[in-house]
Symmetry: C2
Subunit: 204 residues, 2 copies
C-alpha cells in the first residue's frame, strides 16, 4: 500500500500573465513555457482590424463590435477593456475549462488587462518582461524592420508609460539573454507551484 | 559607455527562513544554499544546555539566563521566544549587517520564530520543509539512531502540532528526494530575487 503523502496540492492550473513592451520577446518566452509546462495560451478577442500577417484564432479572434458587445452582455469575458476605440477581451469559457483541468494558462496581455486579471484572481502570477534598456528595445524594433519609425516612436512611448505600472506585477524579468530570461520565468512558475496557498490538504 | 540598465534591483540580502520537523533535512538543504548563494546562516542563541555533539557558536550560542535577559533589555534580538523554560533568540546585529551588505541570510528556526520574523519583515521568505509522510519522518528518526523511542514520539508530536501553522509559510517543499528538494528551494530563492518589490529604480 502506498503511504499517504503528507502534502497534497491543488490540481488547478496556474494563471500566468505575461506583459511587456512590443518587441521584448514575450511571444518567444510564452512558446517555451507552453512547451515546458504543456500549458495553454489564451487568445484574446478584439474588434480592431487584423494587421498584415496576423491570423484569426491565432493572434486574436477578430470580431465585429456588435459581436463583441453581445458577448459582453452574455458575460463571456473574464475581462475586457477599450483602447483607441477598439475592444480587447479575454474569453472566459476556455480559460476556466483549462484551469479546472489543471492546465496552466498563459495570458499575453497588456497592463490594464493584467490589472483586471489580478483584481479578479488574486493568485494570478503577473510577470513583466523588460528589455535591458529602452535603447536596446528601440534597436530591436528597428532590426525587426516590421514597423515604421513613427510606429516605433509610438510603441516606445507606450512602453515608457506602461512601465509606470510595473508595481502591479509580481515579478520582473529582464530579457537580455533569451535563454536566461526563459529559465527565470520557468523558475518563477516552478516555485509558484510550491506556494502554501496551493496546498489542498495535509495528511497527518 | 555602458547603457543604463532599465531595471535596477535592490542590493539588500534576502531573509530566508527555513523550518520543518527534526530529521527532515533542513540542515543539509541550508548548507547547499550557503554554498550556492554565498549566503550566511544565522546562529540562534539559547539558554538551554548543549546536547551531545553540539558546539557553541555553531549549533547555537549557549548563554546563561542572565546574559540572555541582558541582551533582551539591550534590544539585541530580532526576535526571541521561550519554550519549556528555555529562551531562544535570533541575534540582531549580524543579521542586519549581512542583509545590508547584500548577503542572503538563512534562519533555521521553528514556527513561532518564523511567525515573529514575518511580522517584522514582511518580505522575509518562509519555506517549510515537509517530509513525504509522517511515517517516513518517523523512519528517518529511527534510522538516524540518535534519539530514544520516547524522544522520537515527542518530536513526532511536535511535528504534528507545528504543521497546523503551515499557512504562515510562503512555500512548502517536500523532501522526498534531497536533490530535487534542494533544487526547488534554489528556484524559490532565484525567483524571489526577481520580485517587483525588489526593483529599486527604473531608468527611462
Amino acid at each position: 500500500m502506498k503511504k499517504n503523502s503528507m502534502i497534497e496540492r491543488k490540481n488547478s492550473g496556474l494563471l500566468i500573465v505575461i506583459s511587456g513592451p512590443s518587441g521584448v520577446g514575450k511571444g518567444t518566452i510564452s512558446e517555451k513555457l507552453i512547451e515546458k509546462f504543456n500549458s495553454w495560451k489564451s487568445v484574446s478577442m478584439t474588434t480592431r482590424n487584423p494587421r498584415e500577417g496576423e491570423n484569426d484564432g491565432e493572434d486574436y479572434y477578430f470580431v465585429s463590435v456588435d459581436e463583441f458587445e453581445n458577448r459582453i452582455n452574455d458575460d463571456k469575458f473574464i475581462e475586457y477593456a477599450k483602447y483607441n476605440d477598439n475592444y480587447y477581451g479575454t474569453p472566459k469559457d476556455k480559460l476556466i475549462e483549462h484551469m479546472e483541468a489543471g492546465i496552466d494558462s498563459i495570458l499575453e496581455i497588456e497592463v490594464q488587462g493584467a490589472k483586471n486579471i489580478k483584481d479578479m484572481f488574486n493568485d494570478a502570477i503577473l510577470i513583466y518582461i523588460a528589455p535591458p534598456s529602452f535603447d536596446a528595445l528601440r534597436e530591436r524594433l528597428l532590426n525587426r524592420g516590421t514597423e515604421s519609425e513613427e510606429e516605433i516612436d509610438k510603441r516606445m512611448n507606450i512602453a515608457k508609460k506602461e512601465i509606470e505600472y510595473l508595481d502591479i506585477y509580481d515579478y520582473v524579468v529582464v530579457n537580455d539573454d533569451l535563454e536566461l530570461a526563459t529559465r527565470e520565468v520557468i523558475e518563477i512558475i516552478n516555485s509558484e507551484k510550491l506556494r502554501t496557498s496551493r496546498v489542498l490538504k495535509v495528511n497527518i
